[in-house]
């Protein structure tokens, strides 16, 4: 039971950004995808969810063997994929609670009972230490960076997907907020669920310990290893990776 990315080539109107990415995340595993700005991490996350801005020119995305490469974003969500956005959209006029109810119901045959939804929402808000009045605000309208990230993780907790991609959820969070978010993610790390944590920094990996680390550079995964790879990167920086890759290529 896995999320499989095979030889993925992705382009925008202007240029190719991913030049053949392979990555396998099994359920129960947490993978970290690291890389400098512009290396293609967010492109990979958005492509996994079916953002129409990106075109897959080669390769496949499989979830438990089902080919999702051409699927619409809502089909991917129903298949069990989730992404916490780096820059989530603002949805004026739609409260957090209303939006969450719609999203929860989208994945169910029968609409969730009001009481059950309320209980679930309160539990998860307590887990993420979110104020109760938060849910009556319009989604992401006037939210601080930290509030947006917490709203994303709240959605993750409410939707309980099988595979979750966190796209730079750690960036812009102060250490207290990061701890709360990390605790929430750790709570959701269960054998039935896989995580792909995309980050620029190693900070979050001290709180959410990954099983595997991948380093992306210029649209390719160039290094893979265990958690120790993140430590090495912390010590030596991305320039080290770049030099190593250059040396290997020559």
């Amino acid at each position: 039971m896995t999320l499989e990315i095979q030889n993925l080539h992705v382009r925008t109107e202007e240029r190719e950004i991913l030049h053949g990415v392979d990555l396998v995340v099994k359920r129960g595993e947490t993978h970290a995808l690291m890389g400098p700005n512009g290396s293609g991490k967010s492109t990979l996350a958005n492509t996994l969810m079916g953002n129409p801005v990106y075109e897959v020119t080669d390769g496949r995305i499989l979830l438990d063997g089902e080919d999702l490469t051409e699927a619409d974003p809502d089909e991917r969500a129903k298949a069990g994929l989730f992404m916490a956005f780096q820059y989530p959209a603002t949805i004026p006029g739609v409260s957090v609670a209303n939006f969450l109810r719609m999203a929860v119901n989208a994945g169910r045959e029968e609409p969730i009972k009001v009481k059950e939804f309320g209980r679930l929402l309160r539990e998860n808000m307590d887990l993420l230490r979110i104020d109760r009045d938060f849910t009556s605000r319009y989604l992401n309208e006037g939210f601080s960076g930290g509030e947006k990230k917490r709203a994303e993780i709240l959605q993750l907790a409410m939707l309980q997907p099988e595979f979750a991609v966190l796209d730079e959820t750690d960036s812009g969070l102060d250490i207290d907020a990061l701890r709360i978010v990390a605790a929430g993610v750790n709570e959701m790390r269960v054998p039935e669920r896989g995580f792909l944590i995309i980050t620029h920094y190693t900070r979050i990996l001290g709180l959410v310990h990954p099983d595997f680390v991948h380093i992306m550079l210029d649209g390719r995964i160039v290094r893979e290893g265990g958690p120790e790879l993140a430590d090495e990167l912390e010590d030596k920086g991305y320039e080290w990776v770049r030099e190593e890759v250059a040396a290997g290529a020559s």
Partner: protein, 427 residues
């Protein structure tokens, strides 16, 4: 025998009506509103007997909401009225001329000159029935005053006049509903509305227009005057009409007065809407906040022009106008223009606006949460209008507007999906 001030105005207005040609409104060279297809001589004011019960369409729209007063004009006749709160006056304007002559004379047409064009002249010359609302000093109403203008037969010409006076420190909600069932054929509503909010009063005013799919022309002028330290929240809602040409003016006439002006329109099929609103500040130390939002489907045309006008002497005015328009069909054409005339220094006045299509990022975001594209569009458009709907502060009317927005979106689902799909492909 009606008082002379009304009869004299009718005579003078009739002369203007007869001498003026049918108007064509042109703006900026490329926007034209014309009534040349209106067969005015085929239309007539139709008189009706009083009704024991409300007509079905009116009952549906009003729901079971309680009211302080309710009055219904069908065609040329007031057919129903009920006053639940004895402190207020809600009656036909014709009757008020007899029973409240002094008060009516003081305010009648004070802000509505009869010589502003052919249709205002027609209204001034031909109005019948009419509505008079008076909320006396210090009276605070819990439930709204509801005024209904009903056209339920093609061939009808309805010349309307509503005069509302809200006394000092009074607080109330006034709603006018403009409704017609779907019918085949032409009809005309030529309306005049005036509200005087006296010092210290608070009025929540709404106009709800839904003329159905018949060929109803609505050419109306509405003016609101706000006196010292009074506040009017005005929420015009346009949900349907074959051709609508309206002038909506809100005037802060004395110091300390405040306007909250929040409107919306949703045009479909081949509807044509042309709105010109003016926020006029005649005195200093007044405040204003205007937001207009529109959405267009089908081959409809909608033009909104919003003007802030600050006259000489009105210093320390603080006002803002924003206008938004959302195109939901490739064949719809829209135009939204905010403008400013500021004839004095030391004021704060600004405007802003957007004209655009649905945001692909927002749609993508919602779809990643499992919503289909059609649902995402529905939620976005409903959310877009929500800011306006909530300003109604009236659960019954809010529910009605939300229901109608949802119905319109369902009706347009196919074309919106194609449009959004094409846009996504192109991106």
């Amino acid at each position: 025998m009606p008082p002379n001030f009304v009869e004299d105005r009718r005579k003078a207005a009739l002369e203007v009506f007869e001498s003026e040609p049918l108007p064509t409104w042109r703006r900026s060279g490329f926007w034209t509103t014309t009534v040349r297809k209106l067969q005015l001589d085929q239309l007539e004011p139709r008189r009706y007997e009083p009704l024991e019960e409300l007509p079905e369409i009116v009952r549906q729209d009003l729901g079971d909401e309680e009211h302080a007063g309710l009055i219904v004009q069908r065609g040329a006749s007031v057919v129903y009225s009920h006053v639940a709160d004895e402190r207020i006056v809600v009656m036909p304007l014709e009757q008020a001329l007899e029973e409240h002559t002094e008060l009516v004379e003081q305010y009648f047409a004070k802000r509505l000159p009869y010589d502003e064009g052919k249709f205002p002249a027609a209204t001034a010359a031909f109005w019948t029935g009419g509505v008079f609302v008076h909320v006396p000093k210090d009276v605070q109403l819990e439930h709204p005053i509801q005024v209904v203008w009903l056209i339920d037969e093609p061939g009808t010409a309805q010349y309307a006049h509503t005069l509302a006076v809200v006394g000092e420190f009074a607080e109330c909600k006034i709603r006018e509903y403009f409704v017609a069932p779907d019918f085949e054929g032409q009809a005309l509503h030529a309306g005049a509305f005036e509200l005087y909010a006296l010092p210290g009063s608070h009025v929540n005013l709404a106009h709800y227009q839904d003329w159905g799919s018949g060929e109803v022309y609505d050419i109306s002028t509405r003016r609101v005057e706000i006196r010292r330290d009074a506040q009017v929240k005005w929420v015009p809602i346009h949900l349907g009409g074959h051709l609508t040409k309206q002038t909506l003016d809100i005037i802060t006439a004395e110091q300390g007065s405040d306007m909250r002006h929040t409107g919306m329109y949703f045009t479909e099929r081949d509807e044509h809407l042309d709105l010109f609103t003016t926020d006029k500040h005649e005195e200093g130390h007044t405040t204003g906040d205007t937001v207009w939002k529109g959405a267009l489907t089908g081959e409809s045309r909608a033009s909104y022009e919003g003007l802030i006008h600050i006259v000489p002497g009105a210093t320390e005015t603080d006002t803002y106008l924003q206008t938004h328009q959302m195109l939901l069909s490739p064949k719809a054409k829209g135009d939204a223009i905010p403008s400013l005339i500021v004839e004095v220094d030391n004021v704060k006045a600004s405007h802003g606006g957007t004209v655009g299509e649905l945001d692909q990022e927002q749609i993508f975001y919602m779809m990643t949460r499992g919503l289909s594209r059609a649902e995402a569009v529905r939620v976005l458009v409903e959310g877009y209008f929500e800011e306006v709907v909530q300003r109604l502060e009236d659960p019954g009317l809010e529910a009605l507007v939300r229901t109608r927005i949802a119905e319109k979106l369902r009706g347009a689902e196919q074309q919106v999906r194609e449009f959004i799909g094409e846009r996504a492909e192109a991106a």
